[in-house]
């Protein structure tokens, strides 16, 4: 034991702190067996997540395989959905999913960006925390409660106060044709908008907070008004992250189930008018899965689930990459309940 003078003496008396049989210098070098076990256990637990995403994809694919084989790509663009004749085309649901999400984004993006800009740039300090908290609370409301509110409050309100003037002004366009019975693309889109506002607002806020204050100072120093500083310096700097926030909201809207199922009308039909009932992929699964008596019917619903899963994974992946570019590595948005 005369190799290196700085090497700890291996025959050191066993310490009270670590009653392990191993010499203490080993643990300092990170070769302790228990350390390896600890790391191993954590790694296994962490590997659960990649395994889960693979298992989800594989299982959905296997369950959807009969439908994929039988209908091929026509599943995506034909609109007949006839379980009795065993003809399945998911075009109306895909259309309804995209259309309701689009309406949601049209309403939610200005709202959420307004909230984020107000909270980071203009609001007095004492307003920021409470307002941020209240907006994030919107994410705490369960989907089914949104649905209940949509059915009994929002739809009657739309029928009495929103749709008549809307029809009077825009009734000539193809988007507001027909009789409004209540359950409709419009109702679904509005509910979705309220539901995704907190997500977009929370992520946008974190993105704007990550913009260095030197950006603002530089703009203000050159004589910009406060709004000009936001518009010309802050927003462009955070652009990628803001787009990411919007796409994240889109991902939420695409997969939202209960509230939409309760208000969208659940009709297998493509109608351009927002006043007409529609269908979404998630709603179709929620409504029909337990009625699916034949294997092909089930398989078709699994294929709908697979399409939904793949779309949301792609949308979310894109959103995360954009957000990470601005706020690197932070679990942005995880604070939105």
């Amino acid at each position: 034991m005369t190799t290196l003078p700085i090497e700890p003496v291996p025959a050191a008396p066993p310490s009270i702190e670590t009653p392990s049989a191993e010499p203490r210098w080993a643990s300092l070098r990170g070769v302790n067996a228990s350390d390896r076990i600890y790391r191993g256990v954590l790694t296994v637990l962490a590997l659960f997540l990649p395994l889960l995403i693979v298992a989800l994809f594989a299982q959905l694919f296997v369950s959807a395989l009969p439908a994929i084989k039988r209908y091929g790509f026509s599943f995506l663009w034909t609109s007949t959905w006839d379980p009795v004749a065993e003809i399945y085309g998911a075009a109306p649901m895909i259309f309804g999913t995209l259309a309701s999400s689009l309406i949601a984004l049209l309403i939610a993006v200005p709202l959420a960006l307004g909230v984020a800009i107000f909270l980071t740039e203009f609001a007095p300090r004492w307003v920021r925390q409470p307002v941020a908290f209240l907006v994030e609370m919107l994410a705490a409301i369960p989907s089914v409660v949104y649905g209940l509110w949509g059915v009994f409050v929002l739809i009657p309100f739309l029928r009495s106060y929103v749709v008549p003037p809307l029809k009077a002004v825009l009734g000539w366009t193809p988007f507001f044709q027909g009789v409004f019975y209540g359950n409709s693309l419009l109702a679904g889109g509005i509910i979705l908008a309220i539901m995704i506002v907190p997500y977009i607002a929370a992520v946008s806020r974190e993105v704007l907070l990550a913009v260095p204050s030197s950006q603002r100072e530089a703009a203000l120093g050159m004589g910009a008004t406060r709004w000009e500083a936001v518009w010309t310096a802050v927003l462009p700097y955070g652009r990628a992250g803001l787009i990411g926030a919007v796409i994240l909201g889109l991902g939420r809207a695409l997969g939202e189930t209960m509230a939409v199922t309760m208000v969208i009308g659940n009709r297998h039909d493509i109608a351009l008018s927002a006043l007409q009932p529609a269908y979404t992929m998630a709603a179709a699964i929620a409504n029909e899965f337990s009625e699916a008596t034949t294997n092909m019917y089930l398989s078709a619903l699994f294929e709908v689930g697979l399409i939904l899963f793949v779309i949301t994974v792609l949308v979310n992946a894109l959103a995360r990459l954009l957000i990470w570019r601005v706020a690197r590595g932070a679990a942005v948005g995880s604070k939105a309940l």
């Binding site: 702190e17 670590t18 643990s27 300092l28 302790n32 228990s34 350390d35 600890y38 954590l42 790694t43 637990l45 962490a46 590997l47 997540l49 889960l52 299982q59 959905l60 959420a112 307004g114 800009i117 107000f118 909270l119 203009f122 908290f133 209240l134 609370m137 705490a140 369960p142 989907s143 089914v144 649905g147 209940l148 509110w149 059915v151 009994f152 008004t225 406060r226 709004w227 991902g251 997969g255 189930t257 209960m258 309760m262 998630a282 699964i285 929620a286 337990s290 689930g305 939904l308 899963f309 949301t312 994974v313 979310n316 992946a317 995360r320 590595g329 932070a330 679990a331 995880s334 309940l337």
Partner: protein
């Protein structure tokens, strides 16, 4: 002051007002929904509402005792399955997550966080309901646990990362092995934050309905057997809210108020705990 300057100032003022108005609108939406919940739900809530099970359709009265107990059991089981995995994965991300595997796990956790819960529902059906040929509360718990894990993993990671590195160095310098440093010093310090994350995760899955539709299914009778269908508040709100009877709607609103209160209380407890500990972080 030139006309141009005036115009620029007015624009700035108008836009400030606009974003303030938009924020107000968002807050208003929340207040409206909460207000309606209280207005339509509060009058139906009495002692019997919490202690009785539903009565057959057409009769008045009855409560949601079975749904409250069911929510507790299903969410509790989900937490039992999901929390250890989620916290473990979060510790991995914080302690060993700087490499490629860490990046991949972090990314997948974020992506899974946005996966539609209905997809998780049919996945759980395939693995846990179809093989045994019976809907069960256990399958519902599994689905909720899957939803919970990525959420818990990310918040745990964030909370553990807030622990100052000097603490870790001090523990290691005292001769603590890494695993003990990680568990006894680092995780211990972040405990408050981790608990908060868990509460938020639990609050969020407690309101979930879609993953339970084909797993826990719902049950109009009182049941505590996890191998059989079980009622939850969310399922009851869905069935009653979309049902044809006025009486059901009344109960749906009251159940919604109870569920909302449950979720909000959990979330607020969580907030309070974080603010005390990490109030100055941001």
């Amino acid at each position: 002051m030139s006309a141009r300057t005036v115009r620029r100032r007015i624009t700035s003022g108008v836009m400030t007002g606009l974003v303030a108005a938009l924020s107000f609108t968002a807050v208003l939406a929340l207040l409206l929904i909460l207000g309606d919940l209280i207005a339509k739900g509060a009058s139906s809530i009495d002692w019997a509402f919490f202690t009785k099970s539903p009565v057959p359709a057409g009769e008045t009265g009855g409560g949601v005792a079975n749904a409250i107990i069911g929510t507790g059991i299903i969410v509790g089981l989900a937490a039992l399955i999901g929390l250890p995995i989620g916290i473990g994965a979060g510790l991995f991300l914080a302690e060993y997550g700087s490499g490629r595997l860490g990046f991949m796990v972090r990314f997948i956790a974020d992506v899974l966080n946005g996966t539609p819960s209905i997809v998780i529902g049919i996945f759980a059906w395939t693995w846990m309901v179809k093989p045994v040929g019976r809907f069960s509360a256990l399958a519902g718990s599994a689905a909720l646990a899957i939803l919970m894990i990525p959420m818990i993993a990310r918040t745990t990671e964030e909370m553990v990362r807030l622990v100052p590195h000097s603490l870790r160095e001090a523990a290691l310098a005292l001769g603590y092995p890494r695993w003990r440093t990680s568990l006894r010093v680092v995780a211990r310090t972040a405990l408050g934050g981790i608990v908060t994350g868990c509460l938020v995760g639990i609050a969020r899955v407690a309101g979930e309905t879609a993953p339970l539709l084909f797993t826990a299914l719902g049950n109009l009778n009182f049941s505590t057997d996890v191998r059989h269908p079980m009622q939850t508040l969310s399922l009851q709100i869905y069935v009653y809210g979309t049902g044809p009877f006025e009486e059901w709607h009344r109960i749906a609103w009251a159940a919604a108020l109870v569920l909302m209160a449950l979720v909000l209380i959990l979330a607020m407890v969580a907030r309070r705990a974080t603010r005390q500990r990490y109030g100055r972080v941001r």
